[in-house]
Symmetry: C2
Amino acid sequence: MARIVMKFGGTSVADLDRIRNVATRVAREAAAGNEVAVVVSAMAGTTNQLVSWCSSLSPMFDAREYDAVVATGEQVTAGLLAIALQTLGVDARSWMGWQIPIATDGQHGKARINGIAGEALIDRMQSGQIPIVAGFQGLGPDNRVTTLGRGGSDTSAVALAAAIKADRCDIYTDVDGIYTTDPRIVAKARKLAKITYEEMLELASVGAKVLQTRSVELAMKERVRVQVLSSFTDAPGTLVVDEDEIVEQEIVAGIAYSRDEAKVTVRRVPDKPGIAAAIFVPLAEAGINVDMIVQNVAEDGTTDMTFTVGKTDLIHAQTCLEAARAKIGYAEISADSDVAKLSVVGVGMRSHAGVAGTMFKTLADRGINIQVISTSEIKVSVLIGAEYTELAVRALHTAYGLDA
Amino acid sequence: MARIVMKFGGTSVADLDRIRNVATRVAREAAAGNEVAVVVSAMAGTTNQLVSWCSSLSPMFDAREYDAVVATGEQVTAGLLAIALQTLGVDARSWMGWQIPIATDGQHGKARINGIAGEALIDRMQSGQIPIVAGFQGLGPDNRVTTLGRGGSDTSAVALAAAIKADRCDIYTDVDGIYTTDPRIVAKARKLAKITYEEMLELASVGAKVLQTRSVELAMKERVRVQVLSSFTDAPGTLVVDEDEIVEQEIVAGIAYSRDEAKVTVRRVPDKPGIAAAIFVPLAEAGINVDMIVQNVAEDGTTDMTFTVGKTDLIHAQTCLEAARAKIGYAEISADSDVAKLSVVGVGMRSHAGVAGTMFKTLADRGINIQVISTSEIKVSVLIGAEYTELAVRALHTAYGLDA
């Protein structure tokens, strides 16, 4: 017997048939002798509809009222799923964020969970009742409904699992697990049985958007074992766990890519202290996230500075830099949005040399030029021409021995 | 300066344009120096959608979960209207039933309001903020959302008006007031400037469904002045008030009709004590409302019993009586659903004789046969053949001097 949180996303509860399907899965888990709590998202499309109503009335809508409006989507699903479970003879009841309560801070529209009073839920579960918790929402200090930001239901589920001391948090979604790379590009991509929190975070940050990043951070902090699996098949999914749980750790867990970044080069800036700050502080103040940064070796007292920003921020970034031109003192700016970022991720590379070397040699053998390099403890990322993305991902997948 | 509750029904908030229109009206009332609180229904069609989802999952759905689901409709409207008001520069915030709270009993799906904590709302109104209260909902003793039953937002509005000691409760709807009769039948029907609670109740009970009956009962009990008016025009509406407020009381306020009833006659029942109970107790136990009842003069130790039930209950009523045939001991049952009930309503008839006589003579002059008669202190009702409805209503409207 285990205590399990089951979380179902919007596509898993998109209509009444799917809600019935979810009820069947939940009932089966309970019939197997487990204590079960469920977290649900809004029916697919509902949140977008509600958000668009708010935006139509006012592009600068009050986030408190936005929260009151959009939180209804999860409330509807929670009530409907409770009814669907009851028709299967399973005792269930819906819980809104304010009823438990799920206490959050007061940042409406992007609140953070401060604590969940799990005792009442544990009592109900021990008496055989299944709590159906509306995801994505909580209660702020002003006694108003708060929401956690888009995708926040993953975070609700992990926080609930921590609060009720669940053995596992199962995140049901429209993919059946975490793969060594995108199966649409590499037919031989393998589903991972296990992956560490750290690897999952790095993969999420480079575009493998299966789990909301915040939910993985929280799972890592609270040591919640998370399973990603499909609500449409019965296959086992991927467990996201602590490194200790993975006995035979692969050196590289996966290859990720992102075509969402653009490269900016600021040419011939004076090579003097404070020049990086002169460039990047204005960008930070404009709310623009800078990712990879490379500074060339200086020559004739000037240097070039290259970095990447999100494609949607590119024009904004250029405008910022032009406004700061006099202060920075550069010769020209060039930009290239026809790039892709490739990342090799794995906690095993901490203790294994040569991971980066394998990457560079593999790409060189295919004649692929590396424009920018950045590394972290468990990740090596390179920027390449976007047209080489598929070729590079496939070559790296083979080079690291990940092919099925 | 007055303190006013403004209530807007589903058609008044059916889409974003209408919500903007409502915001303009509310802002205008506030700009005129009034303290305003608003009660809103769900956007037209929303509640039906939510109810149908619950029914599809289970015809015998859990009323507690039904309440959690359907209460979201009003929550959405309240948040959206708050946003719309804010874009007009008006301070407003939404309030759910559980936030105020609006305390109800625990009868989910048809809860009754026990009390509303109005102090916080009064404070906000006095500081210039407009509370937008989600109608139709409250908080039960089990800390769960309750709903008041269909049309309950009228009752929410009246209860709120009583709790915050409002000078008036304006019910905005898709008609512009209460008429002396149905204007679709009588072109000369007049809009009443004022009508008493008692008259409104009698009219509502015979089919003039502008206000929910419970809301009028509550208004009468709490002495809340109610105005019925259109959200689509600027014309003044009809005030529903205490008799004392109406100086020049007409004898007859209006003529109502209903084609929703059917007539049942139980023939040749033994004329002995207890026979009425033998017939009507089984019907009451089956949840069937009986309206008009007439017992014929006995002849040869037997009598006939005629009464009316709602048309939708007719088959159910016949089945009931057949099951009780041995106990009642009647010869046969006949039924006629091709009937209409006509009612003349007015508090003035308490002090004026001859109102019933005028009705009977007017109908007789048109050759219209009266099948059943029933009277109350301020109402005379007759059952006639349905085909005479329009003719009879027009004739009575003229006979009582109501033509414009």
